[in-house]
Every structure is written in C-alpha cells, then in structure tokens.
Amino acid sequence: MSTPETVATTRPFAPRDPETFFKAQLRNRRSTWRMSALCVFAALIMGIPLTLVLTPVFYAITMTTAEVINRFSPLPPAFWQNANDLAKLAYRVADTLIKQRGVLDPQELAIGAALVLLPGMVLALMLWVGTLMLFRHGGVGGTIASLSAREPNPADLKELQLADAVQEMAIAAGLPAPKVMLVDSVGVNGAAIGTSPTDAHIVLSRRLLDDLNRDQLQALVGHLVASVGNGDLRIAFTVTSVFETCGLIITLINAPFGKQSRSTLWRIIRYTFRRRPADAKSADADEVAELLADMLDLNSTDIDRFFSSRKPGLIRKFLRLISYPFLFTNMAVELTLWFFLNVLLGPCMALLWRTRRYLADAGAVELTRNPDALAGALQRLSEDSTVMAGGSWATHLFVVNPSGDQSLRGVGPAPDQQRKFLAAWRESENAGRTVRAAGTPVLSTGAEEEYARVRKEMMSTVMAAAAGSTDAVARMQAFAKVVSADPALGLHDMPNLNDLLLAQRGDRTAIARIRMLQQTRHQEGSPKRGQSGLQTHSFLSFHPPLNKRAKRLQKMGAHVAAPTRTGSSVVAKIVIALLYFIIGPLLALAGVLMLIVIAMMIGLNLIVLTLWLAVIHWAFAQDWARNIHAFVGFVEQVIQIFSRGR
C-alpha cells in the first residue's frame, strides 16, 4: 500500500473549501440573478441594431400604405405635414450626429431617438410576446411524441424503482409528482420537460435503469425534480422563446420571397387559429417550434434563392427591382441576428442555464443527502453515449449534454475508494469457490498498479462468467454483495449482475450488452463534439462541463477525485500564453470587422429604403392614368437601366 501522494493525477481526497448544499444553492441563485441581468443587458444591446434595421422597414410599409390609401381617399394634409416635419427632424438629428457639429436641442434628440428606436423595439417586443402566447399552451405532448417515450411498466422491477424514486423525490421536494416516461434509446440520458411544475414530465432512457443503482437513479431523478422545483422549466421556455422570436423575424422578412418561409408562416397561422385536441395541438407546437429554429440556420434562405436564379423572366426582373430594398434589410437582419445571438445573447443565456444546472445539482444533494450518488451517476453518464434521438431542439433540457461530455471519462475513483475496492475484491475471494487468475502475487508496487491489475482480473472474471463459468458468477455475486455493503463504493462501472446471470443461461442479448459495455469502457479516442438544438446558436454549450459539476459535488462531500490537469511544462505554458495573445486580438479584430459590416448593412438598408420612399412618393404624385405613355416609357427606361446594369 502506498500513500495517496504517489497518485499523481488525482487530487487529495478532501476538498480544500467544502461547501454545504444550502450555501451552494444560495450562491447559484445569486449568480442566476447576475446572469439574468446580463441576459437582459445583452438583449438590449442586440435590440439596438435590430431596431435600426426594423424601423425603416416599418416606415417604408406605413408610408407606402399611406400613399395607396391617399390615392383613393385623400388623407388630411395635417398627416403629410407631420410626416414631413418628422422626416426633417430625423434628418437634422442624423446630420448633426454624423458631422459632429452644431448643437442639438435635447427635446429634438429625444424625439429623434424615439423615432428611430421605438417602432422597431415595439415590433420586436410584440413578436416576442406573440411567440410567448403562441407556445404557452403548447404542452409537452409534442416533445414526448418526438422522443417516442412510453410509460413505465410497473411489473418490471427496475421501472417500478424509477417510478418510486420519482415519487420519493417529489415528496422530498414537496411538489406534485411529475409524470415519468421512458425512452428505449441507445444513449443514456434524462430530462425534465414541460412548462410548469404541474405538467412536468421526467423522461429517462431505459438503459439508464440498468446502468445505475437505485441511489444513483434517485440522485439523477432528484436533479430533475429539483430543477422543476426551482422553476427551470419557465426559464427554459423563455430562453427558447427568444430564439423562436428571432426565427419568426427571419421568417417574416423572407416570406415575400419564397415557399419555405411562406409555408412556415402558414403553419404558424394555422396552428394559432385552428381548434384541435390538446395532444395534436402540442405536437403541432413542437413542429412549429422546430421550423422556427430551422429558420435561424443561414445556409440557404428564400431571399438568396430569389435573387440568385440564373435567368429571371421579365416579371421576376421587375419584382427584383421593386424588392431590392428588402434584400439589404434581409441581409442586415440575418447578419445582426446571427452575430449577436452567437457572440452575445446565446452565450449569456448558456451561462444562465448553466447556473440552473449547478443549482439543480445542489438541490439534488439537498433532497437525497447523498452527493456520492449524483457524482457516480454523472460519471457513469460521461462514460457512455448520451445521444437521444428526437427532441432535437430540447437538448438543453437534458441532464448531460446529448452531444456527449467525456470530461469525467477515465477518472478513476479516489485513492481510498481504490483501497476499499481492493479490500472488497480480496474479501470476496474467500466467499465463493473462486477462479484464481493465473499468477496473482501481491506486489506492493503501489495502489494504482494494484488497482489496475485487479480491475483486469475482474474483467477477465466477468468474461468467464459471460462464457458460462459457474465459479466466476459465484465470485462476481460474492463481490457484488461485499461491494453493496458499502454505499460509498459506487458500482458505477461494474457490469450488471442480472445480465451476467442471463448470459449464463445463454441469453444472447445479455451477452451482447456485456460485450458492448466493455467495448465502450475501453474506447479511448476523441469523441465528436457536435452540438444540436439551441446550442448551434451559441458558441458556449448550454451544459456545464461534467468535471466542473463533479468538482462542485466534491465540495459538497462527494467521494470523487476531481480531475486535475497534469502539470504541463513551462515551455508548453509559454506557447499556450503566446497563442492566446495572438488568437485573442485576432478574434477581437474579427468581431470588430463583423460589427463594421453590420453597421454598413444597416446604413445601406437605411439609404435604400429612403430612396424607395422617395420613388414611391414621386410615383404616387404623378397622374399616371392621364398620361399612360409616360408610364410605359418610365417602365421601359427602368427595365433598360436595370438590365444594362447586370
């Protein structure tokens, strides 16, 4: 036996700054407030360019409508007078601001600012509130249907345990018990889905039940129930609605130009006004939400296709001419949304969501009073695939990133747990008629190696058991018994004993499961770090890294060895620092360039829309009906200019 100091990669067992779950919760609640404030601030910042783009569109549409109305029933001269005055005021304010000369009357400045900012802001707010209202009664049926979840079967012991664990945690939290659903998927993961604590659903993958012991299962459920109790579903709903609003704006802007966005818009309208049974309605809500999220992907929007078709006909040419102003609007909106979502609002909301995960972790510890169990469950999840099919826009609701998080993988148990493990293995040796692997001299080469050797021995016993050796099964059973006596020693990476027994009787699926378990265990190699759902719109993941969560659980008393970075050499550190110094300014430069491009787009949009207004105004002032020749001439001229320009 060696002292823990020889184990280089693991931390000393006791954390230096322990923290109770009460304190952890308080701290996380405070940081939630900070993050919410940050999100609001980010939304305001993002709102400024967005309103700068949307306001001219608003004026263009209003004024064009006014011109059309005026044609048929003349509007009072006071209207035109006011519009004229306001336009002049706006011009004067802009001129003074840009040329930096002259003095502005504060009142004028205020009116000018209101003229520029208010319509867009009101428009964006209205859209957001509309989205909130639209999906408020969406319910959860859609997501659950898209995950193809089912109810647990009370005759199955494991599924009964899950249902019980949920009930227990709900009692501990003083909440109405959420509904439990199971997904028969390859990945292991779980989520709380819903809009409020009363309609909350807890969805877990069936494989999770085989992989976790009762305590770990309970801790995982505790995390989800605590999350529901903390009101995370409401927050998640709000966060999603912001993204959906952005999708809606892009849909609206694109709607005149293409089928895709028109059909999306049509779906939204139909969803809003059609009376349907609740479950069909919520399935629709899910589909619409997904469509809106898809609109945020900038790969090919309708307007691009509209303007890039090779040989446009005459009508299309004319339409293009008319709609050129909106091309700039469109590009400006898309660029603004893309840049600010990815760089500003998305990361802020991701950070906000992370604090909720930490808070729910602390809540789970409060409910179960067993930090070990949650830590064990997280570790177990990090060692397996966490992919869930379906429900792709709801990825942020899952306990562990469905794209996988291997930051806890390969971290062994803490030193004294290793010692316990070794002791348990030796103790079980005497319990059954054992298979003694060839050559097991007890060498005092250090706990680490001893542990690795015993692990290997155990694996070979497992394989022997899978092959049908009665002795091996007896040994494993004895070991399981010894191990289960000590709750601190999680069974997190032992194959399921039931599987072993089944395998012994010749159940092929059980054998396959054991084999697969072993293969996944020993797979090293970097996993792909794909992102899906809302996460595509933020360069920061919505899920806190598992090793950070483990570290916090360790502070609350969990017996995990939080992974520490192996000490890198000084040269490597210098290289990394240099890289940061080079990459940091480059990134900042890219951001500034992007901002300049956005500003230019906004300016162009403004100029083009002003020109459009002038042309419209002039066109409506002509007496076309009396002068049909002039009209035809005008159209011909315009088409000529336009086709020569191409």
Binding site: Q161, A165, M169, I171, A172, G174
Partner: protein, 189 residues
C-alpha cells in the same frame, strides 16, 4: 401646498407599510400551511405502509413457516400502529416499532434463497423500500419546512407579526430518539 405634500407622503408610506404587512402576513400563513401539509404527507405515507404490510406477510408466509414469531411481530406492530390514533407521541413510537419489525423480517428473509429469488417478493420488497424512503423523505421535507418557518418567525420585522398571530416555533420531527418522541408537539391537520 406643503401640507398636501406631507399628507400625500404619509398616505403613501402608510399604504406601503400596509402592503408590506400584508405580504408578511400571507407569507407566514403560507409557511404554516406548508408545515401542516408536510405533516399530513408523513401521515399519508404511514397509512400507505399499513395497507402494504398484510400483503408482505401473506407472500412470505409460505416460505417462512418457522419464523412465526417474526411474522407475528410484524402483524402485531402494524395493528398497534393503526390503533395508535391521533396522539402523535404514541403514534410515532408505534410507527418506529413497525419499521423495526419490517426491517427484521427482511433481514430474516435473507436466509431464504427461494424467497429472495421470487419475483413477487422482489417487487414487494421494492414497495416497502420505497415506503420507508417516502416516510424518511416526508420527514426531511417536514423538518425543512419547520426550519424555514422557525427562522422566519424569529427574524426581526416578522417576529412582531408572528407574535400578533400567536405563532410559536414548531418542533422538528426527531426520528432517531425514542425518548424525545414523548414531548413531540407536532400539529395535526
């Protein structure tokens, strides 16, 4: 003019103070009800267990005919617990005894491999495990509610309202000490 301003300020201050008082009052009422609900949750779980125990005894009877004493102890403890009635002190003690008897039954059952392999027994064992857990968690929740309640009626501005309402600190549900169960003063709703 000045008098008007003072008057308005006074009215605003009084209204604000009244609103604050209302909030404190409602908060306290809500907390007290929370404590009561938590207590009735424990009660529900006790009843749930009483209904489960006969099933347990029935399903193990065939396997454990020599363990008549253990089985009788369980049945006895159950009927005592059911008869304990509304008096909390005796009730708590009786429920503890039932917990012990059931635990003992499962310990004895360890010695019967046939029984342990029986599916029904496993399902039943899970049911009893969850009942024990539910009781424990309901207690934990109750204690948490009591802790919050007691803290809030002791804090400064609220303690005045609490005194006016006649609220006194509630007692925690001390599970492990049988002696203290005698001076339990938990409310029944």
């Amino acid at each position: 003019m000045d008098i008007l301003v003072v008057l308005i300020a006074t009215i605003v201050a009084v209204v604000l103070a009244l609103l604050y008082l209302l909030r404190v009052y409602n908060g306290l009422i809500k907390m007290r009800n929370g404590v009561r609900n938590a207590w009735s949750d424990i009660d529900v779980q006790f009843t749930f267990r009483h209904n489960l125990v006969p099933n347990l005894v029935e399903s193990v009877k065939g396997y454990m005919s020599h363990e008549r004493k253990t089985l009788e102890a369980v049945a006895q403890a159950r009927s005592t617990a059911m008869k304990a009635g509304a008096d909390i002190a005796t009730r708590t003690v009786a429920e503890m005894a039932l917990s012990g008897a059931v635990g003992n039954l499962f310990a004895v059952a360890e010695g019967y491999p046939d029984l342990k392999a029986s599916r029904n027994f496993l399902l039943l064992q899970e049911q009893l495990t969850t009942t024990e857990n539910r009781i424990a968690f309901a207690r934990q929740h109750y204690n948490e509610m009591v802790r919050k309640f007691n803290t809030s009626i002791a804090e400064f501005p609220r303690n005045l309202v609490a005194v006016a309402l006649g609220y006194t600190p509630e007692k925690m549900f001390a599970a492990e000490s049988h002696d203290r169960a005698n001076d339990q003063n938990v409310p029944v709703s």
